[in-house]
């Protein structure tokens, strides 16, 4: 099998160097370690510079809303004295309707400044709309490559809507059937056009999200007198978690608990032509959340700027049915009609707020736009068409791809803790596997792995010893 794609993949490094305008090799320290902070600072923009870029781009400064009705309802089903105050950052108020605008605005600014004629992004989600919108404002050409259809040309309605909005902004949308070879076609397009790679995982994009953490910290303190007790973040590829957590830290909110949240899609294969249209969620799910956290460098850049394990204190999963329930609840109780995937963290926050005292504050740091195709009704109607059963009942009976169980009551919403220690060990195993065979990690490597997984050096040494014992 020697296709044209293999030839393209062989030139991956060269194509990406030109398309990113950045040589990642200068950050490498060893076969395992690299200088993460130096890579993040390499673009030279301060946080103030990024705020200025985004303000000019029509991005950021979204409202932080306190959800009084939801908070009282959570208190009605909490142990006495529990029920934290719940807030949401209404990121749907950004120009193209999601926090992804923050990511895109910095990438587009860089592309324009470096003199590229256009930009390309591989995304089936809100990031495409964000890139297309920002590219339109910057008079740059734009190609969005998305995985849209199964082999019968049936498209996930949310992705079809994303194609529509990108085309509305004047982007060229390249739509593919299912498969990881999308990346080779993305490289091919970069090579053919000479455009900038507006990667979700570059330092530009992830730095753009730091302003969200900064706003969450400052606005929560202004409203409540303190930084948030917990910030709940819908987690997929890891950029949202990483950027928000970094921004919170830079603002001084070092004690805020970082809680990542994903929809549990266990059992579904992300490259399956059959499972593709039975997921009911195109992002914010464990199908991205777990593999990207445990091996971030699977991304389209040599070193991923999104490294969520550095920051995650806790990882909660919720079911599809629970998220659809909360999406409907949010519309009716708070007048916020927003997209379901963005309400993943909201669902986990309801569960978390019940565990915390009334004085605590829980901030959900995003919402996303909704509408035809993206709406929770559209998702559930599509699920039914694809043969997925939808019924009311106990959300524990939810089975991704087979049955979506919508809770009957708010008190049935109960997030599950994903084992973060296990994810850290998987990450260390993956990092070791990516190094040349027989390579022995140095003490500097161990320090890097500890920082990259938010562990101690002793923890990493124990994980390495455990791996060696399993090999023997």
């Amino acid at each position: 099998m020697a296709s044209k794609f293999d030839a393209t993949m062989a030139r991956r490094g060269e194509i990406m160097r030109r398309a990113l305008g950045m040589d990642y090799s200068e950050f490498e320290l060893s076969p395992i370690a690299f200088d993460y902070e130096r890579m993040m600072d390499d673009h030279g923009y301060s946080l103030d510079d990024i705020v200025a870029i985004q303000t000019k781009a029509g991005v950021g400064h979204t409202p932080l809303l306190e959800l009084h009705n939801l908070t009282d309802l959570v208190r009605s089903v909490s142990p006495a004295g529990n029920g934290a105050r719940i807030f949401v950052k209404d990121e749907a108020a950004n120009l193209a309707g999601a926090f992804k605008d923050r990511r895109a605005s910095v990438s587009i600014h860089v592309a324009k400044e470096k003199g590229y004629e256009g930009v390309i992004a591989a995304t089936s989600g809100n990031y495409g709309a964000a890139v297309a919108s920002q590219a339109a404002r910057a008079s740059l050409r734009c190609i969005i490559v998305q995985e849209t259809y199964d082999s019968r040309k049936i498209g996930q309605p949310e992705i079809v809507e994303k194609a529509r909005i990108c085309e509305a902004y004047g982007a060229e949308v390249v739509q593919l059937t299912i498969g990881p070879e999308l990346f080779a076609h993305f490289l091919d397009l970069l090579d053919q056009t000479g455009y900038f790679a507006a990667s979700l995982y570059s330092s530009f994009g992830v730095s753009g999200i730091e302003t969200l953490g900064l706003e969450v910290a400052e606005e929560t303190r202004a409203l409540t007198g303190a930084y948030p007790t917990a910030c709940v973040i819908t987690h997929a590829g890891g950029g949202n978690t990483t950027g928000t957590a970094r921004g919170l830290r830079r603002a001084g909110a070092t004690d805020t608990q970082i809680v990542a949240a994903s929809v549990d899609l266990s059992g579904l294969h992300m490259a399956s032509d059959v499972d593709f249209n039975r997921k009911s969620f195109t992002t914010g799910h464990t199908g991205f959340g777990v593999p990207f956290a445990t091996w971030p460098d699977r991304a389209d850049v040599p070193r991923n700027a999104a490294r969520p394990l550095r920051y995650i204190d806790r990882y909660l999963t919720v079911t599809q049915g629970e998220v659809f329930y909360m999406t409907e609840a949010l519309v009716k109780l708070e007048g916020l009609e927003r997209g379901p995937a963005g309400n993943t963290a909201m669902t986990a926050a309801v569960s978390l707020a019940r565990e915390l005292p009334r004085e605590a504050t829980v901030v959900v740091q995003e919402t996303e736009y909704t509408g035809a195709g993206k709406h929770h009704w559209a998702q559930l109607n599509f699920a039914k068409q694809m043969g997925v059963e939808v019924r009311s009942g106990d959300p524990r009976d939810n089975k991704p791809g087979t049955v979506i169980v919508v809770p009957e009551r708010l008190d049935q919403i109960q997030a599950s803790d994903f084992d973060v220690a296990h994810m850290r060990a998987s990450y260390v195993r993956n990092a070791l596997q990516a190094a040349p065979e027989g390579y022995t990690p140095t003490s500097a490597d161990i320090a890097f792995l500890a920082a990259d997984s938010n562990s101690s050096a002793a923890d990493v040494e124990a994980m390495l010893a455990d791996l060696a014992a399993k090999e023997a």
Partner: protein, 110 residues
């Protein structure tokens, strides 16, 4: 063949291409994906007259020329909201009643 099945030069159309035949696809794919070709669709302005299912070249919004099979003429968007979901219908009513009861019991709320 009706007039609408013919695209003329300058019409906004969709073109379909096969990027990879099943034999050329990536290894480690689930069987149901591996046995299908990797297909691609993109929209643009037709370069000349073409029939649905026949060969056509388009100029995309970025000015790229893409050759393939004409798969749609003036393609629209038909995604929607659909019917109300019975499993969600009770949620707003239930939660508002629960909230009112909680606030009544806690002298107007927290």
């Amino acid at each position: 063949m009706t007039e609408t099945q013919q695209a003329h030069a300058g019409d906004w159309v969709e073109v379909e291409c096969v990027l990879l035949e099943p034999a050329d696809r990536s290894t480690n794919l689930p069987a149901e994906t591996a046995e299908k070709p990797l297909k691609m669709w993109v929209k643009g302005f037709a370069e000349g007259q073409a029939a649905l299912g026949g060969p056509v070249t388009v100029e995309t919004m970025t000015g790229r020329k893409v050759a393939g099979t004409l798969s749609a003429i003036n393609p629209g968007y038909f995604h929607t909201f659909g019917e109300p979901i019975p499993e969600l219908a009770h949620i707003g009513k239930d939660l508002r009643a629960q909230l009112a009861a909680y606030r009544a019991a806690h002298s107007g709320g927290a």
